[in-house]
């Protein structure tokens, strides 16, 4: 599709603005850039985002920050078991009621919001969830005969856990993007404390990004050429479904909006294999998302996005998968030890062991070394030290590895 130079300039400017905006926002948090990026991806693709994670992980703060930093009408509510629909959608207009009309006062309420953040979403009553469903799906709020179009761009919902109830799970399926938010890693605790203390003061104000910029990017995303990725996308969907994950047809069709938005934010006019990574976020189970990352390691290895780098890293081959990959390779290598030290291949084997040790240390320092790799790294070191000390290292591997990693 042809895009005029002027339009391309506007889009490039908008992408840069989003990038700078994410930089400024993420500087206020520790390890929440991926979350912020995903909410931004939801805004640009006009889709809804579900955040699942334990309390106190900064979900609300991050969403509040991004909502406050977009020049748009936002609505935020912590839903409880006893929350009345009127608390979200507005109370009845008594004056209108006197005239026999059922009409809610929606001013300042969810039906008039561009961005909604609903905490503890699954605690909502059936009445609330039914009304929400219509707003999420059709951007329409209806109460009796009263009906209005809502300007909702994106609804971000949060919960401590995915619901087990099938009806609630069906409701959760309306959220195209799901992210599982974990507490920050232990090595990031000092930074978390520093950042938290600094935030106790007044966080630096961030210049808001205009709603028009988001709308511009949404329009541009719809113009992205997806023809080059349909086959690859279908292949990935088949592969995910083979692992037992349910991905509805509706969801995979809508997933194309995420791919298009990812391509747009990469600066492309046509989607390529590097833009398929948001598919991981279609999966609504933490274990299955993890499995999808592993399963799709080959398909998503070309993923690239300078603006959404963290959410991409979260969706694809990240440190967890890398650790598992290194562990597999190192274990296989240790087990391939030539029988005789006099075998010329023995020296080559030692060279490969040392290379593996270098690769492990390049990815993980001692503090961050995953448990599965710790024992294997120890075995590599033992073999290499034994060799450099002139010993045969006969007892060090691979038997020791098997014992330690068992």
């Amino acid at each position: 599709m042809h895009v005029s130079a002027e339009r391309q300039r506007v889009i490039t400017g908008a992408v840069s603005q989003v990038n700078a905006h994410l930089d400024a926002l993420s500087a206020q948090f520790v390890s929440r850039r991926a979350l912020l990026e995903l909410v931004m991806l939801g805004l640009i693709s006009r889709e809804h985002v579900l955040l699942i994670g334990p309390p106190g992980t900064g979900k609300s703060a991050a969403v509040q920050a991004i909502a406050a930093s977009v020049d748009a009408v936002s609505f935020e509510y912590l839903i409880g078991r006893f929350t009345e629909p009127s608390e979200l959608f507005g109370a009845l207009d008594l004056a209108a009621l006197k005239d026999g009309q059922v009409k809610p006062v929606t001013q300042g309420m969810l039906p008039e919001a561009d961005i909604a953040f609903l905490d503890e979403i699954f605690l909502g009553s059936t009445a609330i969830l039914n009304s929400l469903l219509k707003i999420l799906n059709e951007r329409t709020y209806r109460r009796g005969q009263y009906s209005m179009k809502t300007p909702l761009i994106s609804c971000v919902a949060a919960s401590n856990a995915m619901p087990e109830d099938t009806l609630l799970a069906a409701f959760a399926d309306r959220f195209l993007l799901t992210m599982f938010v974990d507490p920050v890693g232990e090595h990031e605790l000092p930074e978390l404390l520093r950042s938290g203390w600094a935030a106790a003061g007044q966080p630096a104000p961030i210049a808001p990004i205009g709603k028009a910029v988001i709308a511009e990017l949404h329009e541009a995303a719809l113009a992205i050429d997806l023809s080059g990725v349909h086959e690859a996308y279908a292949h990935i969907v088949r592969k995910i479904r083979l692992t037992g994950v349910t991905l509805s047809d509706r969801k995979i069709v809508k997933g194309q909006k995420l791919i298009a938005a990812a391509a747009l934010l990469r600066g492309a006019t046509a989607a390529g294999p590097e833009d398929l990574w948001p598919i991981t976020y279609l999966v609504q189970s933490k274990a299955q998302q993890e499995e999808a990352r592993e399963t799709l390691a080959a398909e998503l290895k070309h993923s690239f996005n300078p603006v959404l780098a963290d959410s991409l890293g979260h969706a694809t081959y990240g440190p967890t998968a890398h650790a598992a990959h290194l562990a597999d390779q190192a274990t296989a290598l240790l087990e391939s030890r030539p029988a005789l030290v006099t075998d010329p291949l023995h020296e080559i084997w030692l060279v490969r062991l040392e290379t593996m040790l270098t690769r492990i240390d390049a990815a993980f320092d001692a503090k961050n070394l995953p448990q599965q790799l710790r024992a294997i790294r120890g075995s590599l070191e033992t073999v290499l030290e034994a060799h450099s000390n002139g010993a045969t290292a006969k007892d060090a591997a691979p038997e020791a590895v098997s014992a330690e990693t068992a």
């Binding site: 440190p319 998968a321 060279v351």
Partner: protein
């Protein structure tokens, strides 16, 4: 040019030692390694040295020794290396163009290595040190191997 921290999952393709003591340690470390590692190519600059991975006979993969005090690098573009865990924070379509513009600005050419300077805890930076690769030679024939003798 902007640089961004990312997950350190890239394949290590070179090791750089920065600072006189790190270079001395690299030279000493390499001298004590098996002959295979001494065939790997190095480039020695003023107080920095880089060792490039290479495939050796009977091994399909590129090999590198385990050395202390070095920064692992990966090939981020043709003839251009970055530290593992760092990426160029620019759109894909503009990457080559910006890289070339950056090199032109400093009147230098590839091959080169960029080592961005990040403030503690900062995910992004606009500052980086450039190391130019001109004539890498096998370690055993390099000034780096002589450097160890001199010390």
């Amino acid at each position: 040019m902007q640089w961004r921290r990312t997950d350190p999952v890239q394949t290590v393709d070179a090791l750089i030692a920065i600072g006189a003591s790190a270079v001395d340690a690299m030279a000493a470390g390499l001298a004590g390694k098996t002959g295979v590692f001494r065939t790997l190519k190095v480039e020695l600059g003023d107080d920095w040295a880089v060792l490039f991975a290479a495939s050796v006979p009977d091994v399909d993969e590129a090999v590198l020794p385990h050395l202390a005090g070095v920064t692992p690098l990966y090939r981020a573009a043709r003839d251009f290396w970055l530290p593992v865990g760092v990426a160029m924070a620019v759109p894909d379509h503009a990457r080559d163009l910006l890289l070339r513009a950056m090199l032109d600005h400093y009147c230098v050419a590839l091959p080169a290595i960029a080592v961005p300077r990040f403030a503690e805890g900062q995910p992004n930076t606009g500052e980086a040190d450039l190391y130019l690769i001109r004539d890498p030679v096998p370690f055993s024939q390099s000034a780096l191997s002589q450097r160890r003798v001199a010390t």
